[in-house]
Symmetry: C2
Subunit: 225 residues, 2 copies
DNA sequence: AGAAATATGTGACATTTATCACAAAATAAG
DNA sequence: CTTATTTTGTGATAAATGTCACATATTTCT
């Protein structure tokens, strides 16, 4: 377990200057846990006593809306998970579920807070992260509501290929209903639109394996869709 | 100007312990400015060099989406304005416009950052604020997309009466098109739905003066609409 | 391997809400 | 005070997507 921590800390070190004693403090107060695809990492409504760092894998963040569960974001390692819900409230305000096999590091909340106070760099790094994700949330929301199906689905495919997998060929980590849920569309509509994209020669698809053929067209659709 | 600052600081003091020297530092590095209804306080795309505190009034936060400007939030004094956009980037990522006559305090960004580093309480207070607003953004977005017109409009009216004005009778600070923009609906739909609410005896309305008659019904509509 | 549960493909149809088109009011501007 | 400009009210129509209903794969579980 001790060696796994070194990697974990490594990520922190890369973005922030941290003293050795602070690293030790972190190292001594954490636990690494593996989650399989579909496992719940954070559950809305239960107590949170740990800061959670996603070391490997990918996870969806979802929140219970008025009529159904809504996916708000998809994140990949390495990243902190649920900072806003951990700090903002004792009780988790949203859920996080792994979408592929993942590895997570639990860090004691008090230790983390202490670190935040002691290390200015670290504090402003975390502050920055929060700012960015809030801005991101606003942008996303505006984009989602102003575009329609084709545009939103194009966005999702582009996000997979450019942000999450960084390849033009990848395996969808979400079901079509999840994608629908994410972009506020019915599962059937997603299916039909995917078929359209295949028909138009924009993507190829077998099972959940997707290959983007015409990225320019996808970007066009993303913009004026 | 110096006396106006005392009030401003007062708000900070109420939530955070702050040393006198820190208060002085703040006091010496700020400027109070008045904005009239409709004036732009923060403009997306321009440099930001100040932390902005809304002392009096109310403002809308809006961001340019793919096809139009989108209102994402309405805030009332006292509150910081645009923290995420000020910290996250040198360039403002969204705009803020006053919707009623307002008073704003500009605080030098470097001074504010210094304070953040020196005063742990203040730092964690700001951190907390950011967490809350991020959570709020997620909730809002899920709610907006899952409800339809009636539900969203009911939410808006309830927010006005319970959060922003804290009265059952108030003057709408936004035009019907702005409200539509805010809840992702056309101006005409808002108008028609308002008429329905009046017809059903849920609200009374003359000009922009609104009086909520049947709050229970409004809450019902908010839930299952 | 076989059964049960999920996930996908596809048609027909209903519904909500956007859009267009004007008229009337209300506000702001000169 | 008169003229512009912005808001508001209301009908008719169209377009996008949700919903329902099955058939067929595909995955998961025992």
């Amino acid at each position: 377990m001790q060696n796994e921590c070194a990697d974990c800390v490594c990520v922190l070190r890369s973005s922030v200057n941290m003293k050795d004693c602070q690293l030790e403090m972190l190292g001594g107060n954490h636990a690494v846990v593996k989650f399989k695809k579909g496992d719940s990492i954070i559950k809305q409504g239960v107590f949170s006593t740990n800061v959670i760092f996603l070391r490997k894998g990918m996870a969806k963040i979802h929140i219970s809306g008025p009529s159904r569960e809504q996916i708000v974001k998809l994140v990949k390692a390495p990243t902190y998970l649920g900072l806003p819900t951990t700090f903002g409230d004792k009780i988790n305000q949203y859920s996080v579920t792994s979408v592929i096999d993942s590895e997570v590091c639990f860090i004691d909340l008090e230790v983390f807070k202490k670190l935040l106070g002691e290390n200015k760099d670290f504090g402003s790094y975390i502050l920055m992260e929060l700012c960015k994700s809030e801005m991101e949330a606003y942008r996303r929301c505006a984009s989602r509501t102003q575009k329609q199906m084709r545009g939103n689905l194009a966005d999702v495919l582009l996000e997979f290929s450019e942000k999450l997998f960084e390849e033009d060929e990848f395996t969808l980590p979400l079901s079509q209903s999840d994608i629908g849920n994410w972009v506020d569309a019915g599962r059937e509509s997603i299916n039909r639109t995917l078929s359209e994209f295949i028909q138009d020669g924009i993507i190829q698809m077998q099972g959940r394996q997707i290959k983007i053929i015409d990225k320019k067209m996808l970007k066009m659709i993303s913009q004026n869709g």
